[in-house]
Amino acid sequence: MADVAAAPPRAQHNWSIGWGDAGPFLALAALVAIGYLINPDFLSANNIANVVTRSAFIAIIAIGATFVISSGGLDLSVGSMAAFITGVMILFMNTVAPSVGTAAIPLGMAVALVTGIACGLLNGTIVTVGRIEPFIATLGTMGIFRALITYMTDGGTVAIDRSLRDAYRPVYFGDVLGVPIPILVSLAVALVAAYVLYRTRYGRRCVAVGANEDVARYSGISVTRIRITAYVIQGACVAIAAICYVPRLGAATPTTGLLWELQVITAVVIGGTALRGGRGRVWGTVAGAVILEFIANLMVLSDFVSEYLVAAVQGVIIIIAMLIQRMSKR
């Protein structure tokens, strides 16, 4: 079979795949162009920096969700998990601050990570060992996380100790060479995630489990372990997002993380990851998160949408973004 791997067809094929993956970036570009036409301020460095920085939380959490979703799962609990981790972290830092001073901050970060991983482990275990539909299982833990933090904080509001506030502030408001730290963090997370998903054995297995559980099982892959790990990665990502989030407003409140799960899933899907599993797109997810934040920003910067209709216009734009994404796949 000398004719097997002929060069031209291969090249062509790649090209078309390339376009398919470009979908979310095209949608993003279209949005930026429209934004500029509507209000040139949209492209001011300041505005862009703000918006992209804001999108960092959703992006980081959504990168975790890319693993869960491409392995065939779903996690509705991320929003309340974020609130829970934020709360636990602040409570912990406030408790130790009097004795250890600003060393409370790195310690708090470690606590946040451990908490996130534990939450992910819980979700993963219920889904795999309990064999419960992820939608329902994580809807359950969504209530659990939210209630626990409300309980621990008597109503859910807990502010970071004044003595720590200034030391911690740069994690959200600081920058390195002009690039805001949350952007750097989310880029780092995306780089690591893309590496893990595309370049490691784990990533291969994760996608295989999502594509066809039986094939994975017959290939000697422990479906349970892979799925649980995906939820643990999700938990760690939520923790990282929480760590960046705390200095922004310095508090966990009952509304922290509310409805983030929907934004997260939307970002992942706009980014080109298949909701049924078997296909994950880390950079697409990041683009998806930025798209969502841009849409919200545009709603404020443009003058012609009644405040009542903002949600409708957002809905329409999301659907259009998906259409652009879809169409570019042909």
Binding site: N50, G155, G250, T253, P254, L301
Partner: protein
């Protein structure tokens, strides 16, 4: 004698202010249950209007209820169900968000939302010499939100204060932070900001601080949140005043209801908590360090 049962039905803690309500309601229940052996207070929170209707139905179906203290999720949806309870002879105390039919209530305890908006507006008109550019953040579409906005608009009427923009931020500090960032990007000159609740003001202040902009002279809120009162006490230049709208009104209402049963004279009528401007001088009276709000 049988215990008198006071049921308290309030929204679940879904933002800072309601968290304060839950805190004060639980505190009142504990204190009263201890202090008055003849009275039992039970507190139930509900995450939505329909859940709240269900909760009061359930309580009245399964136990005798001598009084109901209710902070309705929304006026429209709770009016009929509360009326049904009233018809069974239960004493009704309504807090904050009124019912559509005021004849239902025996006792009404509330803040003055019009005044919250109006007094803040008057302060701005005076301090800014009657002119300047404003941006406003409003909460969740409800009567309370509407009233505050209306009070504010009435307050600036006749002056040259101009509202550049007004958008919903759902009484949520995160959304307020983002919205304020966007306002700052959109308007090169903003003289003052009003967020119609303090949860949102926290986000606004953070956004202003980050922008480093110097044009904003005032950023005001409303509700009497602890952190904001502290600013007022400290003579903060940007937030020198505040209007109270204390979640502790629920506690007041529960105590008044308990007094109706434990006391010697029946308690009835309406108690409207004033919303005067809190300034550096009187801030101490409005400061409760132990409250979560």
């Amino acid at each position: 004698a049988e215990k008198k049962v006071i049921a308290v039905s309030i929204p679940a803690a879904d933002h800072g202010w309601t968290a304060g309500v839950v805190y004060h309601a639980n505190a009142a229940a504990k204190e009263i249950n201890k202090a008055f052996p003849g009275i039992e207070v039970i507190v139930k929170t509900s995450p939505s209007a329909s859940a709240q209707v269900s909760a009061i139905e359930d309580m009245s179906a399964t136990r005798k209820m001598d009084a109901l203290v209710i902070l309705p999720h929304s006026s429209e949806e709770l009016t009929t169900p509360v009326k049904t309870i009233k018809e069974k002879g239960t004493f009704i105390t309504v807090v904050d968000r009124g019912l559509n039919d005021p004849h239902i209530q025996d006792l009404y305890v509330a803040g003055d939302n019009i005044a919250v908006g109006f007094n803040t507006a008057k302060f701005l008109v005076e301090k800014m010499g009657g002119k300047g550019n404003l941006v406003v953040l409003r909460g969740i579409p409800t009567v309370i939100d509407d009233e505050r906005i209306k009070g504010f608009q009435d307050g600036i009427k006749g002056s040259d204060l101009k509202i550049l923009d007004i958008q919903y931020a759902n009484w949520n500090s995160d959304e307020a932070f983002k919205l304020m960032q966007d306002y700052l990007a959109k308007y090169p000159q903003i003289d003052a900001v009003w967020a119609n609740d303090d949860d949102m003001l926290l986000g606004v202040l953070e956004a202003i601080k980050q922008s480093g902009r110097k044009d904003i002279k005032f950023a005001l809120g409303g509700n009497g949140m602890k952190e904001i009162i502290e600013k007022v006490k400290a003579g903060d230049a940007m937030t020198p005043v505040e209007t109270p709208y204390p979640p502790s009104m629920i506690k007041t209402a529960i105590y008044l209801t308990a007094a109706h049963f434990a006391g010697h004279a029946p308690v009835r009528g309406a108690l409207k908590l004033d919303a005067p401007l809190i300034t550096k001088d009187n801030a101490e009276e409005y400061y409760f360090p132990d409250s979560p709000f």
